[in-house]
């Protein structure tokens, strides 16, 4: 029997969710909608009596205090000015509510329910044209990649066990041996393998030596392993790099990663780096008992197509990185950095197939909120930037740090260990995610690659996390890794790389029937990990998982055969040499050319009163308050927060970084920050890299940290590396990373690249700005020495520390007039490091009352933020700012030179503070005042900014207050 149950709120109850939908409809300019009502729909299938269904409705599905229900209500049809829209998941898409609802039904003592599907029903009242209704549905209520509109009176379809077909085994061989080059490329393209000709030829030769054709499964396994996403062939391959700055220089780079990023770590050789570039996350020392690890990933392509699901599974995926590092680390903080198109972008200009940036942003934020909050991991740090060029291809960076006992930092798979898959079941979701992210997005991506889009189930992952840590502490397994891109294929392939493995694919627990052996092998279903378990421990291990309702299944064993052997019901479906799989990929030489771009230098007449400019900068999307986003994340769960992302007398000022104590009984803390500024990359990616590193590190300094134990991560999001200009700027950026990181003494411990971030529409390719994210993590000895950014007391002195140059290229000031300019901010690394070290000594002597880093918007924005966050005024004199350049108030105020801080010092500490900065560039530029006025006196000592702090704060808080 099939029951359709509708639960709605009793009349007279305010429905907040619906209020949100109504305001979103208004955003489209549709003003005729009078009322929206929401109904939650459950479709329950099974042998259930009327009494049982009544009990389920009354006891479980309905909150009697304010809701009512109806069973199998008569189908409602659209009437004049009343539209019914019912949204259900597509078949194959996991419905996270199903599992818990079925559990609830069983708890009631009812065993006949077989499946539950949910749907959302909206009743929209008001005059609407068919186009308007379509807009509301498609742009707001559903995403056709994962959902559909249920036709009135029908039952939502889903992946009910009854509906799916059985799979009949049929071994598929692919004819490579007889294939021409043309045919090889066709096979690669048809199969969405994203393998190039030389790779296809190598594969063909390998199978020629075996005197047989590959199975589809073998070909897929190679494609997954060799994909850009998994093997990072651009960063590890050979590059012929030509730089055309003054003279033209060409060199051959054998492994860009080794030549730049990894070289930093090797040269610095820090004793506190425990494990770098080896595991799923980089590990550094925390204290005598614990190590910490950190990883940042991207999930750009899925987020472009389905923002909620993309970001949701992005954060879910990166959480599994620390969990799969060493023998498993407990995640204790998340960080999220996004780049979106402009929130007020006209719908008419949107590329075909692209979602509106505002919807992308709302969806991404919700996705992170849902997964991060439900995992109980605080989201403590982030940044959001905006540019038109991210319209079709947003960037979504998700990072997680974890903590583990020191002795759990390394893993070793042994032959004879069992292959155990734990966590969620395997379904048809996410097929081809790894290869999909290794190609460009097109307006057809949504149809071709819809299988690559999924939504996550954070509670499944939370259960898995809880049980894995228990099994870890009982020493029940010898190695662990996560199932990410490439699914089992990557996880098992990686763990068995030095050994060999035999897997019986029919043992893998499935969500539903009908999956072929190959689909099982490459499915990227979320919330799964693979363990390597000594046979004598298997019983205890399985017990830990079953006790908390987590599935754990033996699917094979690690061998000493140096072969990857896969069986489906005793049929051999894959037999590949590990050597070929992991080392057989041909190194190809890619061409890279870098030539600096020339931009228009804007002619801006300096205004006498710069107050309006400051206000415009404060309202710039990059600079304005992100409070509405930050508050949607639980940034305090686990109780360790010392420096929250929001601070100040009204808890709304922008902290430079976040500080968290992962061990509540210890005063040691971890500082986490990020540096990102794609605008500088328009001018020179080398200086963008140096600036990002400087920014991430100076945020750590401004929170009271030091450079002593800072590790950094790189995340490159770039366009298509097969195009020489894209790759050229990437190479130049990597060299910037090397020079700055070595100079600051900050080793890279892990990183990730996401290439092919281009959106092509009808053959025209739009690349994103090459964007580098630097994430920094640092151990802080004594959390009580943390320094916040808001002004504390009237009468205190205000200093600028660090030299200001006429560096307005890529600045937000120039952006206000639509210009980029050429004078990109540079970093004098040696000087900067000495300055940072002096400041951290001053802060550890408690000489500093507050400190804020100068970045987007320059001195003016940093000073204003300090003042209004502290609820105090300031009097500032530009003539005291150490400055080199054309003497203009606007240049001094808005230049975005690196390595600068604003520091508030009590008068009694003036001498000691100035002494501590002896020989460094700094200026005493003013003081904090009781009056709530922000006043800046220009180089001519005449007032050039004069504004009430409440007004400035309001302007700053308004733009993204959704």
């Amino acid at each position: 029997m099939l029951y359709k149950i509708e639960v709605r709120e009793r009349s007279g109850i305010f429905d907040a969710a619906v209020a949100g939908v109504k305001s979103d409809i208004l955003d489209f300019g549709i003003k005729t909608v009078k009322e929206v009502r929401f109904i939650q729909v459950y479709t329950i299938e099974g042998e259930l009596s009327v009494e049982e269904i009544t009990k389920i409705c009354a006891e479980l599905l309905t909150d009697k205090v304010y809701q009512c229900y109806s069973v199998n209500p008569a189908a409602e049809r659209n009437q004049k000015d009343k539209f019914i829209v019912e949204v259900a998941y597509n078949p194959g898409v996991m419905d996270p509510v199903e599992e818990s609802t079925l559990k609830g039904v069983r708890d009631l003592g009812i065993s006949g329910a077989e499946s539950v599907k949910t749907a959302k029903k909206y009743i929209i009242q008001g005059k609407l044209s068919a186009t308007q209704l379509k807009t509301i549905c498609e742009k707001l209520l559903y995403n056709k990649l994962i959902q559909h509109i249920v036709k009135s009176g029908t039952v939502p379809s889903g992946d009910s066990p009854r509906l799916s077909s059985r799979y009949q085994f049929n071994l598929v061989n692919v004819d490579l041996l007889g294939a021409s080059d043309e045919r090889l490329l066709e096979i690669s393209k048809r199969g969405q393998l994203f393998l190039n000709l030389s790779e296809m030829r190598s594969i063909k030769n390998y199978f020629k030596s075996l005197k047989r054709n590959p199975t589809d499964c073998e070909l897929e396994t190679i494609a997954q392993t060799w994909s850009e996403h998994c093997s990072h062939k651009t960063f590890r391959g050979k590059i012929k790099y030509t730089e055309k700055i003054k003279a033209t220089k060409t060199k051959l780079i054998d492994g860009l990663l080794k030549a730049t990023i990894m070289k930093v770590t090797q040269e610095l050789n820090k004793p506190w780096c425990v494990s770098v570039f080896k595991d799923n996350a980089g590990i550094i020392r925390f204290d005598d008992l614990y190590n910490i690890c950190f990883k940042v990933e991207t999930h750009n392509h899925p987020s472009a197509l389905e923002p909620f699901g993309g970001a949701n599974t992005g954060i879910g995926g990166v959480i599994r990185d620390p969990l799969g590092t060493g023998l498993g680390a407990k995640p204790f903080l998340n960080t999220d950095i996004f780049c979106f198109g402009l929130p007020d972008y006209p719908f008419s200009k949107l590329p075909v197939g692209a979602l509106h940036p505002k919807r992308v942003m709302k969806g991404v934020v919700s996705g992170v909120r849902d997964y991060g909050n439900k995992m109980g991991i605080p989201t403590v740090n982030g940044a959001i930037l905006f540019h038109e060029k991210f319209t079709g291809n947003p960037l979504v960076y998700c990072g997680t740090a974890g903590i583990m006992p020191r002795e759990k930092s390394f893993k070793k798979t042994n032959s004879g260990d069992l292959v155990v898959v734990v966590g969620g079941r395997t379904g048809r979701d996410g097929i081809h995610g790894a290869t999909f992210s290794s190609g460009e997005l097109t307006h057809e991506s949504e149809t071709i690659s819809s299988g690559a889009v999924q939504i996550g189930n954070p509670i499944q992952e939370k259960k898995m996390l809880d049980t894995i840590l228990q099994a870890r502490d009982k020493n029940l397994y010898s190695a662990i890794t996560d199932c990410g891109a490439g699914g089992l294929s990557s996880a098992v392939g990686e763990m068995a790389a030095e050994l060999g493995a035999r897997v019986e694919l029919d043992k893998v627990p499935l969500k539903y029937d009908g999956l072929s052996y190959m689909e099982i092998w490459i499915s990227e279903s979320q919330e799964r990990m693979v363990l390597s378990v000594p046979p004598e421990k298997i019983e205890d291990l399985l017990g830990v998982f079953t006790n908390e309702n987590v599935e754990a299944t033996v699917i094979g064993e690690f061998t000493a055969t140096k072969k990857l052997e896969l069986y489906y019901k005793d049929n051999l479906v894959c037999s590949l040499g590990m050597e070929f799989l992991h080392k057989g990929q041909p190194k190809i030489v890619k061409e890279a050319v870098y030539a600096p771009a020339k931009h228009r230098e804007p002619k801006i007449n300096p205004a006498k009163d710069l107050t309006p400019v400051l206000e415009k900068l404060l309202a710039h999307y990059d600079i304005c308050s992100k409070e509405s986003v930050i508050r949607r994340y639980d940034h305090e769960v686990q109780g360790g927060s010392v420096m929250k992302p929001l601070t100040g007398i009204d808890n709304d000022g922008p902290s430079d970084a976040s500080i968290v104590r992962p061990v509540l009984s210890s005063s040691k803390a971890v500082i986490v920050s990020n540096g990102i500024n794609f605008r500088y990359g328009f001018i020179d990616p080398y200086w963008m890299a140096a600036s990002c590193i400087d920014e991430a590190l100076r945020q750590i300094i401004s929170c009271g940290g030091s450079l002593k134990e800072v590790a950094i991560l790189d995340n490159f999001c770039w366009g298509n590396p097969d195009k020489p200009d894209r790759l050229g700027s990437l190479v130049r950026c990597a060299y910037g990373c090397y020079d700055a990181a070595v100079g600051f003494g900050a080793p890279f411990i892990s990183g990730k690249d996401s290439l092919y971030n281009e959106y092509s529409e009808h053959g025209k390719s739009l690349a994103i700005p090459g964007t580098l994210l630097i994430s920094a993590i640092s151990v802080m000895e004594d959390a009580s020495k943390a320094i916040s950014m808001y002004a504390k007391d009237a009468g205190n002195l205000v200093y600028v520390v660090g030299q200001t140059y006429q560096e307005l290229g890529g600045s937000h000031y120039y952006d206000l007039s639509g210009a980029i300019g050429n004078s990109v901010p540079k970093v004098k690394v040696k000087k900067a490091k000495a300055l940072f070290d002096s400041l951290s000594r001053a802060s550890s002597r408690r000489l500093i009352r507050s400190m804020h880093d100068c970045s987007e918007g320059g001195l003016a924005v940093a000073l204003a933020e300090m003042a209004f966050s502290g609820g105090l005024g300031m009097d500032i004199f530009l003539s005291s700012v150490p400055y080199v350049g054309e003497k203009r108030n606007d240049f001094v105020l808005f230049s975005e030179s690196n390595s600068r801080f604003i520091v508030e010092v009590e008068k009694k500490n003036q001498k000691a503070f100035e002494q501590s900065l002896k020989g460094k560039s700094f200026g005493l530029i003013g003081c904090v005042s009781k009056k709530k006025e922000f006043k800046v006196y220009g180089l001519d000592n005449k007032i050039c900014v004069n504004a009430g702090i409440d007004k400035l704060k309001k302007v700053w808080k308004e733009p993204l207050k959704w």
Binding site: F14, S100, T101, A786
Partner: protein, 259 residues
């Protein structure tokens, strides 16, 4: 002196268990993390504990409604044990998701049939929000004896709007002094959003049962145990401990004296 033992109950999606145990440890009690399956399977028994703590989180994903599936499980599988625990004069605290569970299982505000009389529903803002709030304490509850009149704690929830089935329930809560915390402004006066962060009826943030031994509240006292958890500790002078600690100390002191 016998240690006071706290059962911090866990299930799929529980996530504030560690810091809740830390708060109890600071208050002098010993906590044990106990999975619901171990209670149902009788591997562990509630009889061994004096305090039962439902910590925050998203039990079973808050699917259907916050706390609903867990509340249903408690009622169906542990109803008798829970009744006995309460009848023995022992203590229960439910924080955030724990409060939602207590309300939806009928343990709060409590009546003869364990029927649900009140609820916690989606915030008026329609959003999950993490922010700090001022709370004014009142009523009769052993957990809040002698704590300061106004305390400062964070909330972090999407479904915290307190509502009642009908006015008679509200009147009963008032008459029996069961309203324990109300959202307020810094001076203790009633305020609008965001002082009342979710639109709760009469600013209600926490309630107790008729005995004053079961406390449920949306704000997180376990997140304000030490001063460095305060968002503005940088400007505070002479503050020794977080505002939330007193609640845990009260519970532990009561057990020492009476159980």
């Amino acid at each position: 002196m016998r240690k006071v033992k706290v059962c911090v109950i866990r299930t799929a999606g529980t996530n504030c268990d560690k810091e809740t145990a830390f708060a109890f440890a600071k208050a002098g009690a010993e906590s044990e993390f106990v999975h619901i399956n171990d209670l149902i399977g009788e591997k562990k028994s509630l009889a061994d504990y004096q305090i039962l703590a439902f910590s925050g989180g998203f039990s079973y994903g808050d699917d259907i409604a916050s706390g609903k599936v867990f509340a249903n499980e408690l009622k169906c599988k542990l109803g008798e044990e829970l009744r006995q625990f309460v009848n023995e004069g022992k203590l229960i605290i439910g924080i955030c998701n724990g409060f939602q569970i207590l309300v939806k299982s009928g343990l709060l505000p409590g009546n003869a049939n364990s029927e649900q009389d009140t609820s916690l529903i989606i915030n008026d803002s329609g959003k999950f929000e993490d922010r700090w709030v001022y709370l004014k304490s009142s009523g009769k509850c052993i957990w809040t004896k002698n704590i300061p009149q106004i305390i400062y704690l964070p909330v972090a929830h999407g479904e915290g709007k307190f509502i009642v089935k009908d006015n008679s329930i509200l009147n009963k809560l008032k008459k029996n002094s069961q309203i324990i915390f109300k959202y307020c402004d810094a001076r203790g006066k009633p305020g609008s959003y965001p002082d009342n962060p979710n639109g709760s009826l009469e600013d209600i943030a926490g309630i107790t049962d008729a005995t004053g031994r079961i406390l449920g509240l949306m704000p997180h006292p376990e997140r304000h145990i030490e001063i460095h958890q305060h968002p503005r500790w940088f400007s505070l002078k002479n503050k020794k401990q977080g505002d939330g600690l007193g609640i845990f100390k009260n519970g532990v002191a009561y057990c020492r004296k009476h159980l």
